[in-house]
Amino acid sequence: MTPLRRHRALTRIWASDPGWKGWFTTVNHTDLGRMFMFTAMIFFVVGGILAMLIRAQLATPRSAFMGPEVYAQVFTMHGTIMMFLFAIPLIEGIAIYLLPKMLGARDLAFPRLTAFGYWCYVFGGSMLLFAMLTGLAPDSGWFLYPPLSSTLGSPGINSDFWLIGITFVEISAICAAVEITVTILRFRAPGMSLDKMPIFAWYMLVVALMILTGFPPLILGSVLLELERAFGWPFFQVAEGGDSLLWQHLFWLFGHPEVYIIFLPAAGIISTVLPVMARTTLMGYGWVVAAAVALGVLSFGIWVHHMFTTGIPHMALAFFSAASTLVAVPTAVQIFAWIGTIWKGKPQLKLPMLWILAFFATFVIGGLTGVMLAVVPFNWQAHDTHFVVAHLHYVLIGGFVFPVLAGLYYWLPHLTGRRRFFRLGEPAFWLVFVGFHVTFLAMHWVGLLGQRRRTFTYEHGQGWEAINLISSIGGFITAIGFALVLIDIAINALVTLRGRRNPWGAGTLEWAMPKPVPAYNFASLPPVRGREPLYDDPGLDLRIARGEGYLGDPGDGRRKTLVVDIASGRPEQVVVFPSNTALPIVMALVTGVAFLGVLIKAFWLVPLAVLGVAALAFRWVWSLGTRTDEGLLDAGHGLSLPLASASTRPPGWWGTAFLLVANATFFASLLFGYAFLWTVAPNWPPPAYLEPGLAGPALGLAGIVLAPLGLRLAERLLRAGHAMTPGLAIALTGAAATASAGVLAVLASADPQGHAYDAIVRVIAGYVLIHVVLAAAMSVYLAARRSAGFVSPDRYGEVRIVRLWTDYAAITALLGLAALHLPGALT
């Protein structure tokens, strides 16, 4: 088969639907990565316009441009958009676009999930835009502290838009994180062991795991705050046994890791681009991996440094001050690795390199002001002044936007298939760089002089006028610079000439494909022997095109790629991907209806929408797998591999496992919240603890033992060729028993509006109930799959997935019931 005929055959298999329909039914990571990046850029423009409004207001004292109510909405939306709708989705977009190409796979692990995540992002983001255009935008700052954000401080719908919209967008982040984790671990080129992974993949693995464990606390906080706002359950109201500090803990348990979730991908871009710009390889790959891992995990242990002024004891201050200084070490390791890389190479001052140098200059300053703020006495002085605003922009713009622009310019030839011809990028760079430093250096200064952040105006004669004016002028210059960057990218994407395949002479696999990028990425999957496959084997791209790698035969018209062993990268299975479908967008829409129901207080919509989602989810998973035992498939190079769906741990098992990691973090945060209120909330103990009795715990324990046993029995029976029904029946009985224990606990609890204790009892019981019902529904589904022939004695991976959920439900039920009944049993 000639390369051209192979290209045509593979394109027929992998291409998205033609025309406008393709936008809504595509599941291809190249399309969706571009869509993510484009949408994030639109939000960047919106957030940037809001920044200009802020600077226009602050340019002069006593400005009549905005009143305090509007100003509050503007800075809240600026921060919220930049963090949740620009930075995180942009990273997801870059990772979704690049990872399979760098790793040597044909798509991400769960293509439909990519699409679902994208549409959740679009719909959630649109809710916030709608709120802004109708003047109902959230207005209590981007971290939405109660009681300012609760019904006490914001009786209107404004805060609800934030809670609902952002939670919706976070679903998209969780989807992307599950997908990225499984892809990096299992969807790589044959032979790409962990130590041969491109460094960017290591960084993204850390980031994806951080999203899975960092976002759930905020999702929990949002759920609790929305329950408080909608039903008066007083989690954050001191008079009724709540505590507003609980929100601060949950928010910053998310918020500080979030800063590194934003920074680490940027560092990953630098570690990828810098060596190419310096015509060498990254110095200290292993140290950089260790530093990224250490930084990622450390960032979870320092959340309280955002709460230094809440009156906590000295020892707690010292713990978090000490831990905060620790992050300097892995950061320094990376910086030295980069300096060493420049040192050992021959750096060339191309445009991506300019942005990287701007990163160095800016980020180091931001890091130093960060160390200043980690010192408690200084923190007490500078807290909530414009000094903090300046610090966070040095870190966010210097540490995120600049590296990402380096990356965008570096991968631009890849994204567009064209060479950069118009040279607007260089003047744009200088405008941004100079404008940025003018704006924010000045802002440090007024901050030290005492100007508070989030304050819509200031008086004449405080000595702040000139500095603020300079800062605003700098802000406008920066904005003009950014606008020019976007124009530069747009015209170079639309009108210039076709480019070469590997214009920078890079060594990673994404440069081994023809431009514009084909929908299938690689005509055949390249065997990999080193970290820079294109340096090791300069003719690799041609041999890939000639089909000399794995899976080069378009064959039966199914979308196929390889699944490899995590550590060694040895090919293990062939996975078959689903094709184009509108299911993700429809499911995101119906999910959106559930969120909308809560937002507009039309609660009857919620159960309807949940049923809809369940039905769609059923369709979603039903289409996976096969009804026949296919045996071994030819993967090329004389290698015969089984189908992944026939293995004991199909990709869906891995996806489930990582989803449950996020879920467990959510549950752990809930238990933490409970313990937190129990220890420190002023109005505890509640009037009465739950009386455990005998029936509840007995039923609960019986169910907790029965359900997992039932599933194990079902698997035994299945593998011996019998009907699974007895096992599944036991599992269902167990589920019913645990569910009754949950219901009993809810019935026994007092009015949830009366005390935070009774409110949290209901949340824990509700959590247990939801999971038990979910696991039971999956058992029923399993029975249906068996009778339809998708599950057989040789194909029982789905049983393992259901078993995972059932075990999870049992463990959380055990912990949940213990948490509910212990205080009552002890007193």
């Binding site: 292993g286 140290w287 995990v297 000295h314 010292a318 713990f319 620790l326 995590i566 220890t679």
Partner: protein
């Protein structure tokens, strides 16, 4: 998966221990502690004991990573996880030293 766990494990243990000590500190300074008839000195002792436990666990993890039975599948993940194991010990010592130098609840 073992390689991945080896790499992410040491600092995750650090985080768990650090949060546990911080949680214990919250308990010591809360009304629950005095309601249970315990004094601040008991609290300081409990915290010290927790710190010693945390450091021992962390050293244990670092030593465990050398066990041939748990060896990584490549020299690369082996050495990266060993570095991280000892780095986490240092992180524990550094982040918990306030227990011996600052006042407990004021």
């Amino acid at each position: 998966m073992r390689d991945v766990l080896r790499v992410f494990g040491p600092f995750s243990v650090w985080f768990a221990c650090f949060s546990a000590v911080y949680g214990l500190h919250g308990l010591v300074c809360s009304e629950r502690w005095s309601a249970a008839g315990l004094s601040l000195w008991d609290g300081r002792l409990a915290l010290l004991a927790a710190c010693i436990a945390a450091v021992s666990i962390q050293v244990g993890v670092a030593l465990m990573l050398r066990a041939p039975r748990l060896a990584a599948s490549s020299g690369f993940t082996q050495s990266v996880s060993l570095w991280l194991g000892w780095a986490a010990v240092v992180a524990t010592l550094w982040s918990l030293f306030p227990v011996v130098v600052t006042s407990t609840c004021t």
